[in-house]
């Protein structure tokens, strides 16, 4: 089996629906204890990857391992993996408390008291049907249920997409708190990169059905720079840098590049760059080919 170092590991994982590959040749690994951000544009295969990892879907190609085991409809596997689907599905007429009671019989390591305490702290009513709660409160209930299961790996599909900024911040704070005191591994998909930068320490970037980036957040930030200089051709630029994406104006060339170690180049102004810009550079690398003065130079392999 897998070295226990990785909580999630896939190789060549793919899923095809009818004629279209929703996810292709996906090879990623998330070390134990990380809070990993799964980012990418809509349709990049984020949901498909998460559903493959929890066993709701069967792969068309490749393999996956979560906590060292292939996703399967087996109770030992399911006990270790928590999944929070998009839009936090709950039984609308049941209250949070009824959910906690009803799901108790379906899980071996059920811990409802922690969940009750957490929801109590957030002043979320336990006895109201969840249909009467706000979207943010429902998301918190769904997260509490998923955590009450005491999973070793937690997979969250766009948990904050439907939330207002305040609810989003509270949700992510709850999540960060949970991860801080345990060796839980979290893979969290979102297209709101800005929010993830603050709490995540690992990043997987999917675009066009393929893995573009997979690694520690710090390392990704440390190895990408924004370079600015006099206008030059793509070929010239590529001789100096490993280019992710370049844009040219009449006088200037700006590019997101990969670089290892500190670099000084008198001809180029080299700046640190935020996660959002890095992600956008990878996501836009092919999709905006025709967008005016911007042009593709190349993309890190």
């Amino acid at each position: 089996m897998t070295a226990p170092h990785f909580a999630i590991e896939t190789s060549g994982l793919g899923k095809r629906f009818a004629q279209r590959w929703a996810l292709e040749d996906c090879s990623v690994s998330v070390p134990v204890g990380r809070l990993s951000a799964l980012v990418g544009p809509n349709g990049a295969g984020k949901t498909t990857l998460l559903r493959l990892l929890v066993g709701l879907r069967a792969p068309s190609a490749g393999r996956a391992e979560v906590t060292g085991r292939a996703p399967a409809q087996r109770s030992e596997f399911l006990a270790d993996v928590g999944f929070l689907a998009q839009d936090a599905p709950l039984y609308r007429r049941l209250s949070a408390d009824e959910h906690l009671r009803a799901l108790a019989g379906m899980n071996v390591r059920w811990e409802p008291d922690v969940a009750r305490a957490r929801l109590g702290t957030l002043s979320i009513p336990l006895d109201l049907p969840v249909a009467k709660l706000s979207g943010g409160q429902r998301a918190q209930v769904a997260l509490a249920l998923t955590l009450a299961k005491r999973p070793r790996v937690l997979l969250l599909d766009e948990p904050v997409a439907a939330l207002d900024p305040l609810a989003r911040r509270e949700f992510l704070a709850s999540l960060a708190e949970v991860v801080a005191d345990g060796d839980l591994t979290v893979l969290l998909s979102s297209h709101l990169v800005h929010d993830l930068e603050r709490i995540c320490d690992h990043l997987i970037l999917l675009a066009r059905g393929h893995t573009q980036l997979c690694g520690d957040m710090d390392e990704i930030l440390a190895t990408h720079r924004l370079v600015t200089g006099h206008r030059c051709t793509d070929a010239e630029l590529r001789r100096r840098f490993e280019v992710v994406r370049a844009t040219h104006t009449e006088r200037q060339t700006t590019a997101v590049v990969r670089t290892v170690g500190p670099r000084h180049d008198p001809d180029w102004q080299i700046q640190e760059i935020g996660l959002e810009e890095i992600v956008l550079a990878y996501m836009g690398a092919e999709t905006e080919l025709s967008a005016g003065p911007m042009s593709l130079v190349g993309r890190a392999s």
Partner: protein, 319 residues
Amino acid sequence: MNALVWRLHRGQGTVGSVGLLGLAVVLAITGVVMANEYHSALSTCGASHSCALLGRTLFQGDGFVKNLVSATVVLPALFGMLIGAPMVAREFENGTQDLAWTQGVTRRRWLSVNVGWLLGAAATWGAIVAVLVTWWRAPENALNGGAFTPGQFDIQGIVPIAYAVFAMALGVAAGAVFRRVLPAIVTALTGFVAVRVLVTLYLRPRYQSPLTARQSLTSSGLPNTDWVLSQSITGPGRALPGRGTHALAQVTPSNPPCAKHGSSQGLLSCLNHSGFARVFTYQPGHRFWAFQGIEAAIFLALAALVLGVAYWRVVATDA
């Protein structure tokens, strides 16, 4: 697991049970009244030699309750449509299959527990209704028979239980296949009605080879416990289906023709003498329970078949 099933279905369970209780109260009261009337009529009719007429004089007034009893034939379809069909389909419409199927139990077990409860409820409710109706119809059966005829056969004995189980299983399977409530309900209804009609029309008359009986035109016919599949009048050497006795009287070969007879009794005995007879194809009343058993077995087998589809769809298909 049981706790979840109960919390999701307690509304349906309560409504179903209260409805059945109402039906039970109505049938119990009217049933006791009818049984008393029947027994007191039996004890007095002997003196006036009118016992043979009881079938026409008793139980004429309670048409509403009679219709209510006949209407219990739709209950299995209701179980399938309102409880069976939404079971899986509603999970998909609300996205909650993602919640249910990622807890620490496998989909197979999730389906088994759910189906177990639903089929159990269908069988229990079906059995209660069947027992009530069979008991309620006892005086009517004793007086006028008819328990073997389509429509009455279907609401008595053990077949209502098998219908209820099949309807519920069909609803669950339709919900699992379509994953949407409305198409599942439509399929549960049309599928159930189609199977019931086809079995009643084409299979049930053939569970055992029907018997034939030949009787004179003046005889009183077969016992009312038999299920008559067809009857016709045969003439000398040839069958004459679909002709009334007066029409027959015109073609009789005797001389003078039977049509000369004024009284209908004279006409019929004339026809008898000319070689006409009534021929019945029928299933005798003593086969009632054998037919109940065969039909129940058929519907239970069909229930197993559609449940197989439900398992395949839930366990082996992507969610």
